[in-house]
């Protein structure tokens, strides 16, 4: 081949390989980068809010900007960090590998999905810089606050907010169609439904829940956009509209959305815990059934966000009951995870530490959720920092602890190199301790009556006491520590991509199919299409020579 043709070839493959790639592994990594960068943006917003709250006299943020930061922090962390990392990255990267397929069912649709997401992200960032600033109606976009520009003084910021979420939903929709079609039609020979790794089950459940719940919210977004742009009054009482309608439509999606994020996080844990405990998963099928039950229940709990909204109080009781009911299947899954570790020979890797950290913190989130779920208690703590603490104890474990666990675990497969374990442990302890120091005191603030979304709490006498003030300052220092605690990770991550120890095929001695191919896997994933002989959690099997038994290795192969 002549010289010219050769360079052209290389250029071509650079664009195709790293940027406009249809390979699910590259797309997964692109989502990871996007999510991590947005996490930094979300974290910086949180820093400014904390600075304002600890030292209101510094006037770090005006109330308007504070509202915008609260809104964008929530939007970014839920939709542009949790979604791209937990679904975009882990879903795209792992589903085809774990089921033994060469790619997604629709690779080009997958690429389109990422770039749609990317444009949505750009629009969201752009909204900071339009006149009037970014959306300031809360991440829940409550109407009528969001329905007319005069209420928040934000015009194009909120329109862009709706638009960027619309693009993100379109992207996840394409992704969800892809996830489901892939998992249903492209499983390797022998990969029956009950031999699927639980990660795939969780991704699938998340996709189904998302697809079934997002429709009404898209309808609500259409109505909201018409209110803002055309002048209809669907959510404006003065025009005969109903602001509560927005809350119903939003939370019909909003609550299931929490599980869309949480389930892939559970999926990460359900892969790491057996491999890190060298034991089969406890109650494989029970975990699947519980997840499905929780998925169904998640559609009939939404009004627990609305106990004090002015909706018919007769609805409170049934929604309290379903909400408390939904903790049962989740408790089963958590117990199954703990039972998986019970008497295992635990290998306390960084991934395993983060997995256990997820369990411990999420447990706090789950238990405090019962307080919010029962209407009688919720009326007292609603819209206070108790709620802020509660949902950070559920979403932070999923979005960060579980995501970090997954990154430390699958980094070798993604980049072909290992992350440094020592710095990983440092990162874990800084994150774990930092997180608890930030959010544990918030329960107390909430019980003391500290409302959410308050730019200057010292306007209230009861929030100006020395004890409250010192707690605020303590939380802010802890938050700064938590943010700085991410530095070891950033350095470790960037350094290991180029200079980490080269990873072998199966560094954690795990069973699922992604560990039976090279690190990183070649284009097409497997040299020979794998045939599946076992369930994915065959650890410490007395029949095998080693304490693990890869899914694609038949026992005869080993014994002969």
């Amino acid at each position: 081949m002549d010289h010219n043709g050769n360079t052209e070839l290389r250029e071509n493959s650079f664009w195709r390989k790293y940027l406009f790639s249809a390979d699910h592994k590259t797309i997964g990594k692109q989502y990871l980068w996007l999510g991590l960068i947005m996490a930094l943006v979300g974290g910086i917003l949180a820093y400014f809010m904390r600075k304002q709250l600890a030292w209101p006299e510094s006037e770090t943020l005006t109330p308007n900007v504070y509202n915008a930061f609260v809104t964008m922090h929530g939007t970014i962390m839920v939709f542009f960090v949790a979604m791209p990392i937990l679904l975009g990255c882990f879903g795209n990267f792992l589903i085809p590998l774990m089921i033994g397929a060469d790619d997604m069912a629709f690779p080009r649709l997958n690429m389109l999905s990422f770039w749609t997401f990317f444009v949505g992200t750009l629009l969201l960032i752009l909204s900071f810089f339009v006149p009037g600033g970014a959306a300031a109606a809360g991440w829940t976009g409550y109407a009528p606050l969001s329905a007319k520009p005069i209420y928040t003084g934000v015009n194009w910021g909120l329109n862009l907010w709706i638009l960027s979420l619309a693009l993100e939903f379109a992207s996840v929709l394409m992704g969800g169609v892809n996830f489901m079609t892939t998992a249903i039609t492209m499983r390797a020979e022998g990969m029956s439904w009950f031999r699927l790794p639980l990660m795939v089950w969780m991704q699938l459940s998340a996709a189904i829940i998302f697809m079934l719940s997002v429709g009404p919210t898209i309808a609500a977004a259409v109505l909201l956009l018409l209110d803002r742009l055309v002048g209809t009054g669907f959510f404006v009482p003065a025009q005969g509209g109903d602001p509560l309608l927005w809350q119903h439509l939003f939370w019909f999606f909003g609550h299931p959305e929490v599980y869309v994020v949480l389930l892939p996080g559970f999926g990460v844990l359900l892969e790491i815990l057996p491999a890190g405990s060298r034991k089969p998963i406890f109650g494989y099928r029970i975990i699947i059934y519980s997840t499905l039950v929780a998925g169904v229940l998640s559609f009939i709990v939404w009004a627990h966000h609305m106990f004090v909204s002015g909706m018919n109080p007769n609805l409170s009781m049934p929604f309290s009951i379903t909400t408390i009911l939904i903790s049962v299947p989740f408790a089963i899954v958590i117990f199954a995870m703990i039972a998986t570790m019970w008497r295992g020979s635990i290998r306390l890797t960084t991934a395993m530490s983060f997995a256990i950290g997820t369990l411990m913190t999420f447990l706090m989130g789950g238990v405090t959720g019962i307080f919010n779920g029962s209407a009688a208690v919720d009326i007292f703590i609603h819209d206070t920092y108790f709620v802020v603490a509660h949902f950070h104890y559920t979403l932070f474990p999923a979005t960060f602890f579980a995501a970090f666990a997954g990154i430390y675990f699958w980094f070798p497969k993604m980049f072909g190199r290992m992350l440094n374990e020592t710095w990983g442990k440092v990162h874990f302890w800084l994150t774990f301790v930092g997180f608890n120091l930030v959010f544990l005191p918030m329960f107390r603030l909430g019980m003391a009556g500290h409302m959410r979304r308050l730019a200057d709490p010292t306007q209230y006498n009861f929030l100006s006491t020395e004890s409250i003030k010192s707690t605020q300052i303590f939380i802010t220092w802890a938050a700064i520590g938590l943010l700085i605690g991410q530095a070891p990770f950033i350095v470790n991550f960037l350094r290991s991509i180029v200079a980490g120890e080269v990873a072998e095929e199966n560094p954690w001695q795990a069973n699922t199919l992604e560990w039976s191919t090279a690190s990183p896997p070649p284009h097409g994933n497997f040299e020979v299409r794998p045939i599946v002989h076992h369930d994915p959690y065959n650890y410490s099997s007395p029949d095998a020579d080693s304490d693990w038994l890869p899914q694609d290795q038949s026992l005869e192969e080993i014994t002969t």
Binding site: A105, I184, G233, D242
Partner: protein, 188 residues
């Protein structure tokens, strides 16, 4: 050269594209469910329906129009089932004709309603009508565009086209959701 084949030639138990379309339509159904519930909730909260000074929704003519749309569903079904090319061509063109007819009559009705003083912003009553019926019309327009694409790409239906079965699924959805909308929005 980097090669990737989007549709891998493996025999699958379920046709991937069909499955994906069905999953997508599930989301579409939930979208319309959201719109319809919004309609019912807002309607229940409005004391006078229709509000004073606003025209009634055109029940009768839309009822006839509904028949045209249903017929287009039937002709689409015949087109998919047609064994010979020239028959398929006839049924596809009939589908296109009835679909366009439905849309045209809807358009004429809209013009009349606007003349009677019912606009997007005249009342919740008007806004909901245009939003719900407009969303359906938009879906029909998209379905028509796909249909035109299929017709032109298949030599006016004389050859088979892989998109035809997907197009028909989408068409059935647009036709199937209409009687529900008609009943809840116009008749109820």
């Amino acid at each position: 050269m980097v090669m990737y084949s989007p549709e891998i030639s493996r025999s699958d138990p379920v046709d991937k594209a069909t499955l994906a379309t069905l999953i997508f339509l599930g989301t579409e159904i939930m979208f319309f469910a959201g719109l319809i519930s919004s309609f019912l909730i807002l309607r229940a909260g409005t004391p006078n329906w229709p509000p004073p000074g606003q025209p009634r929704y055109p029940i009768l003519i839309t009822g006839f129009n509904t028949l045209f749309l249903l017929v287009s569903g039937a002709t689409m079904f015949r087109a998919v089932k047609a064994a010979q090319g020239h028959r398929r061509k006839r049924w596809l063109l009939a589908t296109f004709g009835f679909g366009t007819l439905f849309l045209g009559i809807q358009g004429v009705e809209w013009v009349k309603l606007v003349e009677y003083g019912m606009t997007f912003t005249s009342s919740i009553y008007g806004g909901l009508f245009y939003t719900l019926i407009g969303c359906h019309a938009l879906h029909l327009v998209i379905a028509l565009v796909i249909l035109i694409f299929v017709i032109f790409r298949s030599g006016f239906g004389t050859k088979t086209h892989p998109l035809l079965s997907l197009c028909s699924l989408y068409w059935y959805f647009v036709v199937g959701i209409w009687p529900l909308l008609y009943t809840l929005v116009y008749l109820l």
